[in-house]
């Protein structure tokens, strides 16, 4: 036993030393984001702010995004209650994703790159690396939890209590640990680091959507969801430490499982078997398009299934909306006055969120071409009669098609499920849902075009497009809560597009953004056609 983990502590210290910049960035980034918005919330709370916010967040669309609150009347809704309600789930999710990426990056990815073999040739235990990486994440999340707690306390707000602050920080830190153990387990099961990352993030996404459903229908069920164990602690209100204990038990079990799985496999191998391959290529592979489809297939199918499931999960919430309205007189009046049905309003908000996620896929596909380039997979192909234009436009074409199908699955999944659960009370038909989805097509194209532009002129910046996507998501996410200034909001491309079916279709905006996107793609092509191919960078 001891031998397996021999000298893990040396690796652990080595990792801390190697990663210290990333760790500081990580803790400051998530920490400031999680704990630093107290003044903004004090601002919102002025006057009737708390009551207004309480009512807004009763809306199922909002509950499915930010989660529930245990507070039953607006009068009990304090700044602390609001802070936990709006921030905790999102920040926990953030911490979780970060930990997933870090753990898989330090375990499976290094293994795939052959670094583990090197390390293991020194006197280091077979499983020392996993233990060291795991220990590192735990330490980081403990520091993160303390940092957030301290930050909250420093703001010195009456309703942000001492105990609540620690619980808030602990919930986020715990979310990180949960993400790490999910990542560690997937790193053992999957055949490669990319599929481990994909499946682990997919699980986190499913947990998020599942809790959206249970939060709206019956919040008790969210208690069975590891992601639920973050916000269900209800800091500053119920101060419930029980979910933290669940999370601890869960994490220990998962770590033991991961080590058992790792102990039973070879370096570089997974548990999903490899089949024997073909001696000759199928005809369908024998072209640039065939090759690129094959290379992107696994990831794309994964994401597409995710979109369909996401749509269906959100769609299932529609059945409970009328029930919800019956029980909430004020909301009922609000919707009656605005002339928009609760279903329509929900569709508009959720569609925006889903379409941000759908935009990830085309970016993934476009960035793949540069990944292939720098791994030197294409070296020999450059010397054939294939043009750079073929590489570029095939990729862009696949990205756009992936976006179109993704939209279809997300909007169709939402609409199909919504209509079936609403039965005959349905006020919208499937075309309304699809229209609301494809209404966001220009934003999907725009993100594709940004990735294409990067590919052509500064391929190393391809990852920055994700950052911008995340930025616009956060902006739109917080817009419904914070009421951001117009110019600021407009820096996110989706903000230009009206949310159907609540708002009506805006053809000039639709066409303008589409045209801009196409122009950017062409500009990207000009760059791609004349730049040096980068090999091994």
């Amino acid at each position: 036993m001891k031998e397996k983990f021999a000298r893990w502590d040396i690796l652990f210290l080595q990792y801390l030393k190697r990663d210290w910049k990333k760790i500081i960035f990580w803790i400051l980034g998530i920490g400031l984001f999680s704990g630093g918005f107290v003044p903004a919330f004090e601002e919102i709370a002025k006057g009737q702010g708390l009551i207004g916010m309480f009512e807004t967040l009763q809306n199922p669309a909002m509950v499915s995004m930010v989660g529930p609150t245990p507070v039953e009347t607006a009068a009990d809704y304090t700044i602390g209650a609001m802070y936990a309600h709006e921030m905790l789930l999102f920040c926990g999710l953030f911490a979780m994703i970060m930990a997933v990426l870090h753990v898989i990056g330090h375990t499976r990815k290094e293994e795939d790159l052959g670094l583990t073999e090197l390390v293991r040739s020194f006197q280091i235990g077979r499983q020392a690396n996993s233990l060291a990486a795991m220990a590192e994440v735990v330490v980081i999340n403990i520091i993160l939890a303390l940092f957030i707690s301290a930050l909250l306390i420093v703001f010195n707000v009456d309703t942000i209590s001492f105990q609540g602050s620690f619980l808030f920080g602990a919930s986020i830190g715990m979310a990180g640990v949960i993400g790490a153990v999910i990542g560690l387990v997937m790193a053992q099961i999957m055949p490669a680091s990319s599929s481990a990352t994909g499946s682990a993030l997919g699980i986190v996404g499913l947990l998020y959507i599942a809790r959206a459903g249970t939060d709206v229908s019956n919040v008790d069920f969210s208690m069975f969801n590891p992601l639920g164990w973050t916000y269900l602690t209800y800091p500053f209100t119920d101060n419930n430490w029980l979910p933290i204990i669940f999370a601890l038990i869960f994490s220990v079990v998962m770590v033991i499982l991961a080590f058992a799985l790792e102990g039973g496999r070879d370096i570089g191998a997974g548990y999903l078997p490899e089949r024997e391959g073909r001696e000759n290529a199928k005809r369908s592979l024998l072209s640039v398009r065939g090759l690129f489809i094959k290379l992107n297939r696994g990831v794309t199918i994964g994401w597409l299934i995710g979109f369909g499931v996401m749509g269906a999960a959100y769609g299932s919430i529609y059945g409970d909306m009328q029930t919800f309205l019956e029980s909430n007189e004020m909301m009922k009046q609000m919707f009656a006055q605005s002339g928009v049905s609760i279903e329509e309003s929900f569709t508009g908000t959720i569609m925006m969120v889903m379409m941000v996620l759908v935009s990830i896929l085309p970016i993934v596909v476009v960035n793949k071409l540069f990944a292939e380039e720098s791994r030197q997979h294409l070296s020999q192909l450059y010397a054939t009669k294939v043009t750079r234009g073929q590489f570029y436009w095939t990729t862009i074409g696949l990205a756009v098609i992936a976006g179109l199908i993704g939209t279809l699955l997300a909007a169709g999944g939402l609409g199909g499920t919504a209509i079936s659960v609403m039965e005959d009370s349905a006020a919208m038909d499937i075309s309304d849902f699809l229209a609301a989805g494809y209404n966001f097509l220009p934003s999907v194209l725009f993100f594709t075009a940004l990735a294409a532009l990067a590919l052509g002129w500064a391929p190393k910046l391809g990852k920055v497009v994700y950052a911008y996507l995340g930025y616009s998501f956060i902006l739109n996410y917080f817009d419904s809560i914070l009421d951001l200034p117009e110019w600021f909001l407009k820096t996110a491309v989706q903000s230009w597009i009206p949310q159907m079916p609540t708002d009506s279709f805006d053809a000039p905006v639709f066409i303008t953004i589409t045209v801009i996107s196409i122009v950017l793609m062409i500009v990207g092509y000009l760059g791609y056609n004349r730049r040096d191919m980068i090999e091994g960078a």
């Binding site: 391959g277 001696e279 000759n280 997979h377 294939v386 043009t387 090999e535």
Partner: protein, 293 residues
Amino acid sequence: MTEIVKIKGLQKKFGKFQALSDVTFRVGAGEVVGFIGPNGAGKSTTIRALLGIIKRDAGKAEIFGKDVWKDSLEIHKRISYVPGDVALWGSLTGGEIIDLFMKLHGGGDKQKRDYLIKRFELDPKKKSKGYSKGNRQKVGLIAALSVDSDLYIFDEPTSGLDPLMEAVFQEEVEKIKEAGKSILLSSHILSEVERLADRVVIIRQGEIVESGTLDELRHLTRSAVTLATEKDVSKMETVEGVHDFMQKDNQATFSADNKYINDILMEATKLGVKKFEAVPPTLEDLFMRHYEG
């Protein structure tokens, strides 16, 4: 002689770093040119520029009389290339990758392919993730040799191959050489170059420092001479063209400039030659001189 490859004053900078400062050489029709030089000298960079993978900053570079950047497509129909580090898609098998490459290149020969797979002893059914370095290299070689081309560009093609497979490669290259094709071969395995190349081009720090047939180059260097004479051999030390003179009794070893070899012999006969041995420089020696110098 028609020129297949013609490079003149080729330059390339990566940021501030001048990778190629002056590369000039040519490859004639039916000629095998060995392209050698120390690590980081710019061999791969030159080859990448020739293939249009990177864009040159200055100078001329033509293949088949066409500009390598502007007319790359026309050129690529008639060339084959094997990089020194063949990277493959892990999820595809070697067989699939070879087929794909042949299709994208055009003009592939299925029988030749099967023949080469046998000769190189490659298992084409294996996912390439599981290939060793040498086996990956074989995939690249088989793909490039299965298609019909007029110019073959090899950048350290045999890195990772075992000696047996290296010999197979050399035999196959000799076949295409006999078929009158041109070959540009960059390699660190000098015996390989010595065996295959008609001419050698040596590059150092982005500049061509020497080029010519092996014989011509030999002439520029020194032979290792062992000489025993009846009279005092120490007189030889001052003769022009003699270097690194070492004496033991009446026997001396020294290196001699090949162009003074006649004068040296004349001087030696005056002393009464008992023994004279001259070993011509190997490419290795030649190379060392340029690499170190």
